[in-house]
Amino acid sequence: MAGDVVPEGKLLVVDQLHKSFGALEVIKGVSFDMDCRERLVLMGPSGSGKSTLVRCINWIEPPSAGSITFDGRVVETGKSDIRRLREEIGMVFQQFNVFPHLTALQNVALGPVVVKKTPRKEAEIEAMELLAKVGLSHRADHKPAQMSGGEQQRVAIARALAMHPKLMLFDEPTSSIDVELIHEVLDVMVKLADEGMTMIVVTHEMGFAKEVADRVVFMDQGLIIETGTPSEVFEHPQCERTQSFLSKVHLA
C-alpha cells in the first residue's frame, strides 16, 4: 500500500533546476530537498513556475538544466530511467485526466496491469480497495462522464496510488472542482498524509497547508523566495511578495 519502506536519507533532491520554453525561462534555478514522509506545499502566484516545477520532477516536462536525484539515484535522460522514475512518483493533475473510455475500476487497474504486468484480477481487487479508500466503491463501474469533478479527482488519486508511489505530486488538485466538493478531495489527501505519504502539493488551500504541510515553499517568477513551516510563512512572511500574495488569498 501507500508509503512503501524507503531507505534513510533524502527521497528527493532538486538541484539548480532550470526550465525554459523557447526563450522564456519559467524556472530559474530552483533547489530543494525532501525527506521521506515529508509534506511540502508549494504556493505562489500564477506564472510563478510552481506547476512547471512539479511537472519537471517526474519529467513530464524535461528540465532544461540542473539535476534531480530521486531515492538515491540521479535521474538520467534515458527512457528506461525516466519510466522507472514515473512509476515511483504518482501525479494528480488539475484537470483530473482520468481516462474517459474506462470505468473507475479500470482507470485504477490500468497502470499496474500495463506497466507492472500485474494479473488483471489481482489488479482489480486492489483497485477496489483503493476506490474504497477514496470513498468510491459504489462508483467502480461508472465512467468518468457520469461522475462529478470531485469523484473524478478521487479516481485519479486512486489511480496514482495503485502504482505504490514513493512520492505523490498534486498539481492544483482542487482548482477545477466545485467549491462544495473540494473537501471530498482534501479529506482524501489529509488521509494520505496521515498514513505517511510523501507529498508535494501545489495549492492555494491555506487550511490544508496549515493542517498538513511540514513546510511551505513560496515561489515567484521562477524562484523559491521563501520557505518555512506554515505558521512561519503564513503569520510572519518575510518577503513583500509573499505578504501581498497571502493578503489576497486571505481575502478570497
Binding site: N58, I60, R84, M91, N97, V98, F99, P100, G111, V114
Partner: protein
C-alpha cells in the same frame, strides 16, 4: 428519352458492374485503413525523418488526382516491369490514394485527444507506445468512425475512375448499355440510383455516429 425498361432489361449487367464497384471499394478501403493508420502513426511518432517522408507522401497524394495514380499504376508501371492485372492495379492505386486521406483522419483524431491524457498515461510509467495502445487509440476509435465512413462513401464514388482503365465497374457497364441501346440517359440514371443506394446508408451511418460522439 428516359426509359425504365432499359434499366430493368439490363439490370443484371448493371448489377455485375455494381458488384465490381462494391468489392473494389471494400478491398481498397480495407488496405487504405490499415495503411492509413500506420502512416498516420509514423507521421506523428516516427521521428523527424520518417515524419518528413510520410508528410511528403500525404501531400503528394492529396495534391494530385486519383485518376493520375490509377493511370500510372496500370499503364506506366509495366514499363519498369511491374505488371498488375486490372483489379489489383485499381485496388492498389485507390488504397495508396485513400491511405493518405485516412492518415490525416487518424492524425487529427489523435491530436483532438487532450494532451493531459497522454501525460496521465506517461505519469503512470507507461511507454509512449503503451500510452497510445491503451489510452489514446481506444479514445480515437469512436472519433474516427464518422470521418472514416465519409471516406468510404467518397471511395465508392471514386472507384468510377477505374472505367478509364476499362474495368467493368458500374459506370463502365452503364456506358456500354448506352452504346448498345442508343439510349444514354437511362443507364446513367440507373447507375446513379445504384450509386445512391450504396452511398446513402454509409453517409446516414456516419451522421448517426457523429451524433453519438457528441
Amino acid at each position: 428519352m428516359f426509359k425504365w425498361s432499359i434499366i430493368l432489361d439490363n439490370l443484371p449487367f448493371l448489377l455485375s458492374g455494381a458488384w465490381t464497384t462494391f468489392s473494389l471499394t471494400v478491398v481498397s478501403m480495407f488496405f487504405a485503413t490499415v495503411a492509413g493508420l500506420l502512416v498516420g502513426l509514423l507521421n506523428m511518432f516516427g521521428g523527424k525523418i520518417v515524419g518528413a517522408i510520410t508528410r511528403l507522401y500525404i501531400e503528394a497524394v492529396r495534391g494530385t488526382p486519383a485518376l493520375l495514380l490509377i493511370l500510372i499504376v496500370y499503364y506506366a508501371l509495366p514499363i519498369i516491369g511491374v505488371n498488375l492485372p486490372q483489379f489489383p492495379a485499381a485496388a492498389v492505386s485507390l488504397a495508396v490514394c485513400y491511405a493518405a486521406y485516412i492518415a490525416e483522419v487518424f492524425r487529427s483524431a489523435v491530436e483532438s485527444i487532450p494532451k493531459g491524457q497522454s501525460e496521465a498515461a506517461l505519469s503512470l510509467g507507461m511507454s509512449q507506445t503503451q500510452a497510445l495502445r491503451y489510452v489514446i487509440l481506444p479514445q480515437t476509435f469512436r472519433r474516427v468512425l464518422p470521418p472514416l465512413a465519409n471516406e468510404f462513401a467518397a471511395l465508392i464514388k471514386d472507384t468510377s475512375l477505374v472505367a478509364f482503365i476499362s474495368m467493368q465497374d458500374l459506370l463502365f457497364n452503364a456506358k456500354i448499355i448506352g452504346a448498345r441501346t442508343y439510349n444514354i440517359m437511362s443507364p446513367y440514371i440507373g447507375a446513379a440510383i445504384i450509386y445512391l443506394i450504396m452511398t446513402t446508408p454509409v453517409m446516414q451511418w456516419s451522421r448517426s455516429l457523429e451524433k453519438k460522439v457528441d
